[in-house]
């Protein structure tokens, strides 16, 4: 490609005489406000209600037995609707993490830097994101055992944010068996040969 990337490709617009010298509009700013009342769905609703009671619910896949948290009503390992909810403890380990130094929109309350981690609860097959605190950021490591620190009772609502952060329990680290595989080892069925 040898043409000049900054050269215009379209012929210049021919303005009618009465618009000669009139200032062109460079941009149009149209503020929109769209409000959505999202439905949590039946299983997520159960999860959120349980959250208010400081209880964590996961869903069990009817085909593979894997436990997903939070539950969304259909497990990707089955493609079928959830029929079984499972109570999980509020302890687990750090599967991985990063130390974030950029603010995110809407969370001015988060002091930088903060550690966002994937926490795998005991009994769960997958991790989910949470804040790790109560330990210097540079001491957080893969396999760190953590326990939920809940918001005070009077602040509990039907939200996953009831868990304020995850703090180290002081127990021995979990040994990460494989750095590639995440969560409790599951064995998804082998791929069928498709040429499509």
């Amino acid at each position: 490609m040898t043409d000049d990337p900054l050269a215009p490709v379209a012929p210049p617009v021919q303005l009618p005489p009465r618009l000669q010298g009139v200032e062109a509009v460079q941009s149009v700013r149209t503020p929109f406000r769209l409000e959505y009342h999202a439905s949590s769905g039946q299983h997520m609703a159960a999860f959120l209600r349980a959250m208010k009671q400081k209880q964590i619910l996961g869903e069990r896949c009817p085909t593979t037995g894997q436990v997903f948290v939070p539950p969304r009503g259909v497990t990707p390992t089955s493609g079928l609707e959830t029929t079984e909810l499972v109570e999980l403890p509020d302890t687990g380990y750090v599967e991985s993490f990063c130390i974030t130094r950029v603010p995110i929109p809407g969370r001015d309350d988060l002091e930088l830097p903060y550690v966002s981690a994937w926490v795998v609860l005991d009994g769960a097959s997958v991790g989910f994101i949470g804040l790790v605190a109560g330990i210097p950021a540079d001491e957080v490591r893969l396999g760190l055992r953590v326990k939920a620190v809940w918001r005070p009772d009077e602040e509990l609502r039907e939200t996953a944010d009831n868990i304020h952060h995850w703090a180290p329990t002081g127990e021995a680290d979990v040994r990460i068996a494989s750095y590639e595989l995440i969560g409790a080892p599951g064995r998804p069925p082998a791929e069928r040969q498709v040429r499509a």
Partner: protein, 385 residues
């Protein structure tokens, strides 16, 4: 029924920059399309169908913008499709367009990917609070940084491998007049010393936010025969999707990636990718994804991809140049980036990549991914008829 052959006969791009305030959305896409048509020596009327791809409409604040863009792309009276497969969309758009030719339905199809993300707020659009999820959504960097940490632990790679990739791609970009980031004074030390954003990802190891459009004209064998410039034949395409969270998921080398490329190589008859592929344009928005994708795409053994970075293999002039265009690390109009990879691969085998041409390249891999590293689109193009 045998598939029709399909070739890339025209490529057009816009100069990628953070804000294209000089054009409307229609102007932006038209610029890329006009360049692609000029490359193919075609007029609007020669195009039978149009496939547009872009990422979430919140990036521009216009719902289904292709509806009003159809006429800017000569789409009146023609079939127009709009694809959206997250970050891989530029690639999947080209693939969908190729099916229109390979099926024999159309002879000349315009495929275009774009994003004018300066119109809205990309950071906001990427961080939209997801109902009922914890609000600690740390954006794309916050999502991929933990995965990169796992790769680093698994491979025991030297800590600065990511910086080597970032520096390499910005050097490459200097030879690509369309690239967004042109940093002639950038030094390797500056990359290393740039602030950590999502440890272990530094600022300089992160892609920019760009406005831009990229278009390709795909043609049947008969239409390619009369094209004025060398063409790139599409040898194979493949797409795969998987869930982004389940027990035992390989996060570092997702099954959707390794199976997508296995399907791709099988279709293209490739058994030794290192030897048979001359140049790779892969989707690397955060530096460490280069060694990770090198492994997933079969160019290196597990845990060894970083060596190809460290020893210069993936530099222009090396044995397997990667992203001589500067890659996503140098330009990232999200909806177009996948298409840019596919188009750059085509430019290489057409011998039309200018200053960032890999000498003698006859076979190239174009790669795009999206979502939580769960959507993959890839193609192999070659110069041979």
């Amino acid at each position: 029924m045998a598939k029709e052959r399909c070739a890339v006969i025209g490529v057009g791009q816009t100069k990628y920059q953070s804000t294209r305030g000089d054009v409307s959305i229609a102007g932006l896409v038209r610029e890329a399309a006009l360049r692609a048509l000029a490359d193919a020596a075609l007029e609007w009327d020669d195009i039978d169908a149009i496939v547009i791809g872009k990422a979430p409409d919140f990036f521009e604040g216009v719902m289904m913008p292709e509806i009003v863009l159809g006429e800017a792309l000569g789409g009146v009276g023609k079939p127009v499709l709009r694809v959206h497969t997250a970050g891989s969309v530029g690639g999947s758009t080209a693939i969908v367009a190729s099916t229109l030719v390979e099926s024999g339905i159309h002879a000349r199809v315009l495929a275009l990917g774009f994003e004018k993300q300066s119109e809205s707020n990309a950071m906001w659009a990427l961080s939209l609070p997801q109902a009922f999820q914890t609000s600690i959504n740390a954006g794309a960097g916050g999502y991929f940084a933990p995965i990169i940490r796992r790769y680093m632990a698994m491979s025991a790679a030297p800590e600065l491998v990511g910086c080597l990739v970032a520096f390499k791609d910005r050097q490459h970009a200097l030879a690509n007049p369309y690239a967004h980031l042109h940093q002639p004074d950038l030094t390797f030390d500056q990359v290393v010393e740039s602030p950590m954003l999502w440890d272990p990802i530094r600022y300089s190891e992160t892609c920019p936010s760009s406005d831009g459009a990229c278009a390709v004209v795909l043609a049947s064998e008969a239409a390619a025969a009369v094209a004025p410039n060398p063409v790139a034949w599409i040898d194979a395409t493949a797409m795969r999707s998987e869930a982004n969270n389940f027990g035992g998921r390989n996060m570092v080398n997702p099954a959707a990636s390794s199976m997508c490329v296995a399907d791709l190589y099988a279709k293209a008859g490739i058994t030794e990718p290192r030897r048979e592929i001359d140049v790779v344009e892969m989707y690397v928005p955060f530096s460490w994804y280069e060694p990770m994708w090198l492994e997933s795409l079969g160019f290196a053994e597990k845990g060894e991809g970083w060596r190809l970075v460290e020893d210069g293999t993936t530099r222009l002039g090396g044995a397997l140049p990667v992203n001589t265009s500067g890659g996503v690390l140098s330009s990232n109009p999200i909806g177009a980036s996948g298409m840019v990879r596919f188009a750059e691969a085509a430019l290489q085998v057409r011998g039309m990549a200018g200053e960032h041409q890999v000498d003698g390249a006859t076979r190239a891999l174009g790669h795009a991914y999206g979502g939580g590293a769960q959507y993959f689109a890839m193609w192999i193009v070659s110069a041979a008829a």
